[in-house]
């Protein structure tokens, strides 16, 4: 493969990965309402959240492995795991490394959820809220496309998507007909002992 093709693949997979992670985070936030979301029932939201996150990781792996072979990025194997040491734009590339580490931590603990328990899983899963803005910043700061209009438009759309979901599913905006939080007094059901 020519280095140009590699470069396009690296950029393209990075952008696709960011879009997918945006969808994953939006669904993660949307699912907290405890109801369906965007026309999907709970089951669909949970399944798509999971599947899209694994797909996003696949694109992330493509993104990083193509960059390993890109002569301009000057990325070493260590830079993939340890942030802020790369020769090329160390800070912005380092943010990408950090996002990768966090994404892996979030995904791996999710797949081992039953083994590690709810508390530990939740604690790690919250890192997703750090991971996504870091990935976004990484794209803006280190991408070769950063100054192009279409890339800025994609970034803006990602931010708007997550904000829109966060606001629209927030309990404060919920109609009062449906319970907003866990009812405290409904544990006395007669059935199912």
């Amino acid at each position: 493969m020519s280095t140009d093709a590699l470069w396009y693949l690296a950029r393209g997979s990075g952008v696709v990965s960011l879009i997918l992670f945006t969808v994953v985070v939006a669904l993660g936030i949307g699912t907290r309402s405890g109801r369906g979301f965007a026309g999907m029932n709970r089951l669909a939201v949970a399944s798509v959240h999971r599947a899209a996150s694994l797909l996003a990781l696949v694109f992330l792996v493509i993104h990083v492995s193509t960059l390993l072979f890109d002569p301009y990025a000057q990325l070493g194997l260590v830079d993939v795991v340890v942030p802020f040491g790369s020769g090329h734009r160390p800070f912005w590339v380092g943010l990408g490394t950090l996002a990768l580490d966090l994404a892996l931590a979030v995904a791996i603990t999710s797949l081992l959820r039953e083994r590690i328990g709810l508390r530990a899983w939740r604690a790690v899963h919250w890192l997703a809220y750090a991971m996504w803005p870091i990935a976004l910043a990484h794209g803006i700061g280190s991408g070769s496309d950063r100054s192009t209009g279409w890339m800025l438009a994609i970034d803006a759309l990602c931010v708007l998507t997550v904000l829109a979901v966060a606001v629209s599913t927030h309990p404060a905006f919920r109609d009062t007909e449906t319970p907003s939080t866990t009812p405290q007094l409904v544990t006395t059901r007669g059935e199912q002992r």
Binding site: R35, P183, V186
Partner: protein, 76 residues
């Protein structure tokens, strides 16, 4: 043959995902909490074991447990 699906009521937040997966066995009360269709412990027949396992994996609160079937279960 059927395996009991146990719901941990202290963990369950009534997210309704299990009802989406096992509509044959589980309905929802008006707060969204799962409700056994039989009125007793949810018993999962072999043909529904796949969706039942999926519910156990996907329950956001890890509130579901699929037990060994009544015959092989050690009681005590």
């Amino acid at each position: 043959m059927s395996r009991p699906l146990i719901i941990d009521w202290t963990a369950c937040e009534g997210r309704g995902l299990c009802a989406d997966l096992l509509p044959e066995l589980i309905g929802q009360d008006k707060w969204g909490y799962p409700q056994s269709r039989s009125g007793r412990t949810v018993l999962v027949p072999p043909e529904l074991e796949r969706p039942a396992r999926k519910a156990v994996h996907l329950c956001p609160r890890l509130a579901l447990r699929l037990e060994a079937d009544a015959k092989t279960r050690v009681t005590g």
